[in-house]
């Protein structure tokens, strides 16, 4: 063991310099030509900026709501609810979300609510909804903003992001971008 101790220490120092240091610095260098220089993608609106991929908390009736978040949309402490599928407390919480949603959206039938609107995401920062998740909120927003439902529906339709190359994955909308477009609607 003794004869291996010196090489082991030297090797650790070498690896540390290379895999913690040089590799990271090289990647930082590449990041300078990446979107927003590797500081996270942002959208700028009227001089304010938001992180495009991070969900924001929307509780106002005139905005599309994001999915529920177990960490209250804390982007400096991600997390899911980690509730088991049969946990009675959890199921009561889902029921409460259903009731709240129906109270704010009286024209929506329970069977029209997609599962994602009453379940918390994994990260607590899910920036997306399925198109159905946006459509069920249209009537509420139309009333709150006094804009026709058709206009908002067509806005949602324009915002739909198709699966990758039209082939792989899910169809979705970005809630933040949708709400920005909503504020620009006149």
């Amino acid at each position: 063991m003794k004869s291996h101790l010196i090489p082991a220490i030297l090797l650790t120092i070498c690896c540390n310099i290379f895999f913690s240091g040089i590799y990271t610095v090289a990647m930082l260098g590449v990041a300078q030509i990446a979107p927003n220089q590797g500081k996270g993608e942002i959208v700028t609106v009227n001089g304010k900026y938001y992180y495009e991929n991070i969900a924001q908390k929307f509780t106002d009736d005139k905005y599309f709501w994001s999915r529920p978040s177990a960490v209250d949309y804390n982007a400096a402490g991600s997390g899911g609810s980690n509730k088991g599928p049969t946990n009675p407390d959890y199921l009561a919480q889902v029921q409460a979300r259903i009731d709240t949603f129906l109270a704010h959206n009286p024209s929506v039938k329970k069977s029209e609510i997609p599962a994602e609107l009453v379940t918390a995401s994994g990260s607590g920062q899910d920036p997306n909804l399925s198109p159905q998740g946006a459509f069920v909120q249209v009537a509420r927003i139309a009333t709150a903003r006094n804009i026709s439902e058709e206009k908002i529906t067509s806005l949602v339709n324009e915002s739909i992001e198709k699966p990758l190359l039209g082939l792989f994955g899910t169809t979705k909308v970005n809630v933040l971008k949708l709400n920005i477009a909503l504020d620009n609607l006149k």
């Binding site: 070498c14 996270g40 991600s78 609810s81 599928p85 049969t86 259903i98 990260s123 979705k172 504020d183």
Partner: protein
């Protein structure tokens, strides 16, 4: 066909195609043949050897290889403890995160040195950027150490009688610089261009559209996320791992990260075939692993896409699948696919919360970890499979009344004893510690350990020790695991479950390599056939089912039946 299903099938097909090519390359690296990266990497490797005073040409026997492996791991452990317990006042800490207390540092360092990456801290608040960089170092070198151990066993399986099995350091450095490093470069760059941060700036504060104040954690994430996936480490930069939009921004990055999870484990199987020029043997191993993988994958896909029946009962449409703990941009199919891939390999990164999987699809990841050899961790997955081969050779030999032989070497009592001890270690660690923890929580129900009552609470504890012993690192994260009990016991389990299952197979292979080589004849039980593959599969199913059925019956199965 459903685009979610097409998505996961393409991930798998792409993984296999890339793994085949990478396997060829790895075989060349392990056998010291020329590769296209030599002009760049030869000088780098030589620099490592020169500074570390290592002669890469001096060969070691199996014992010396293990001594080298263990010595270097002790140095890593001490170094890691030093950093984790002092990072609070060291540089690169813009968010002013604290140092770890001793028990948490012990857990974290063991976890990263053992390639487990069970995280009892959250990346955003629990470590500084310096801490993250040191953990990133361990993600390279613990993976490299596993691959080097596999390379020693590959060498020992050659058709000859030999004592010397190559130089451990040589295998180790080449695994890091020639396999992990180039791939990490590629993956990290792809991630960066899709929105994963790579910066040393701390948290940013923004005002949301509604006027709330919101902090956003950033950091040098892209570099770490790449090696976390490729080295079957799994330790995420952010707390919720690859479900976080910054860590895994879109479906494309999800495909790339998911491919990275099982790329090297599968490539190593092909590499064995090229290295030994025994492609049929490699196909047999690959076939058994894939059959087991599909047995776990297909039901999980179907269950997660089917949704949670308890929520369906409330009148909510479940056609979009069970969405608790999942992200819209991945959907239930890619989440279920990831859950199985990350647990059959010993990766342990997650893109959805396993605690919220429906009961049976929470069981299949556990089974993947309990077998721990369907692809498996980089290097060590093959070593675990090697144990099953030895056991199958022995049983098959007895059944047909022939001396058990594997690749021209007689398998005798000593090797069988080692193989059985290594196999039994895994259920022993998992079941004994789960039992102890269950007893403690029974005595002290006030402990804030369990996030869910009843059977699911038991599953949380069973999953934690299964994950620790499989060196996986995923969790039913509802478990309140940052307490001295969980930090220390999981640390002990990870330590034992990392090193004995490396020592055992290397010892068996080393002992076999020294034995007289008997050329294959018509009397030899062939190990590269489909019928032997079925034998290995049966051995795995019977041993694992006998070991774990009762525990699973108390957790996920009971929860399923109670729905």
């Amino acid at each position: 066909m459903n685009t979610e299903i097409i998505g996961v099938i393409s991930i798998y097909v792409l993984t296999l195609a890339l793994a085949y090519l990478l396997g060829k390359y790895i075989a060349k690296v392990f056998s010291g043949e020329k590769t296209f990266l030599d002009p760049v990497l030869n000088p780098l490797d030589n620099l490592f050897f020169r500074i570390s005073k290592i002669d890469p040409l001096s060969e070691m026997d199996w014992k010396e290889s293990l001594v080298a492996l263990l010595t270097v791991n002790i140095v890593w452990f001490l170094f890691g403890m030093l950093v984790m317990m002092n990072m609070g006042w060291l540089p690169l800490n813009p968010d002013e995160n604290p140092s770890m207390p001793a028990d948490q540092a012990f857990n974290t360092v063991v976890s990263f040195v053992s390639n487990t990456n069970l995280q009892h801290y959250s990346g955003e608040t629990g470590v500084s950027y310096l801490g993250q960089l040191i953990l990133q170092l361990f993600q390279f070198i613990s993976a490299g150490a596993g691959m080097a151990a596999a390379a020693v066993v590959f060498n020992a399986m050659k058709e000859r009688t030999a004592d010397k099995l190559g130089n451990f350091y040589n295998y180790f450095i080449k695994s890091c610089t020639r396999i992990l490093l180039p791939l990490s470069f590629i993956v990290a760059i792809i991630l960066m261009f899709n929105g994963t941060p790579m910066t040393f700036l701390g948290k940013d504060q923004v005002i949301t559209m509604q006027g709330d104040t919101m902090n956003v954690s950033r950091g040098p994430a892209a570099a770490m996320v790449a090696i976390k996936q490729l080295g079957t480490n799994g330790g995420g930069f952010y707390g919720a791992n690859s479900s976080v939009p910054f860590e895994n921004p879109n479906y494309f990055t999800n495909m790339i990260e998911n491919i990275s999870i099982d790329l090297i484990p599968i490539a190593l199987v092909f590499a064995l075939g090229f290295y030994l020029r025994r492609k049929k043997l490699a196909w047999m191993i690959f076939g058994v692993m894939t059959a087991g993988y599909l047995c776990l994958l297909i039901p999980t896909l179907s269950l997660e896409m089917g949704g949670n029946p308890m929520i369906a009962k409330m009148g909510i449409d479940q056609s979009s699948g069970s969405m608790e703990g999942k992200e819209i941009r991945f959907g239930p199919a890619a989440s279920a696919f990831w859950a199985i891939t990350t647990t059959v390999t010993s990766n342990g990164s997650v893109n959805s919360m396993h605690d919220s999987l429906t009961p049976l699809s929470g069981m299949f990841p556990m089974l993947g970890m309990q077998i721990n050899a369907l692809y498996g961790g980089v290097g060590v997955g093959f070593l675990n499979f090697y144990i099953f081969i030895i056991i199958a050779v022995f049983i098959a030999g007895l059944m047909v009344g022939r001396t058990p032989e594997f690749l021209g070497k007689k398998v005798e009592a000593k090797e069988m004893k080692i193989a059985m001890i290594i196999f039994l270690l895994h259920p022993l660690l998992i079941l004994v510690f789960t039992g102890l923890a269950s007893y403690i929580i029974h005595l002290h129900p006030e402990y804030p350990w369990l996030n869910n009552p009843g059977y699911h609470g038991f599953s949380e504890m069973l999953y934690e020790y299964t994950s620790s012993s499989a060196n996986n690192g995923s969790g039913f994260e509802g478990l309140g695991d940052n307490t001295p009990w969980w930090n220390v016991t999981c640390g002990i389990v990870m330590l034992i479950a990392r090193f004995l299952p490396i020592i055992g197979p290397v010892a068996i292979a080393g002992i076999l390599a020294k034995k007289k080589y008997i050329p294959e004849s018509s009397g030899t039980l062939r190990t590269d056939t489909a019928s032997f593959g079925i034998m290995v599969f049966a051995v795995i199913v019977i041993l694992v089912a006998l070991s774990f059925f009762t525990a699973l019956a108390l957790g996920p199965l009971a929860e399923y039946l109670s729905m």
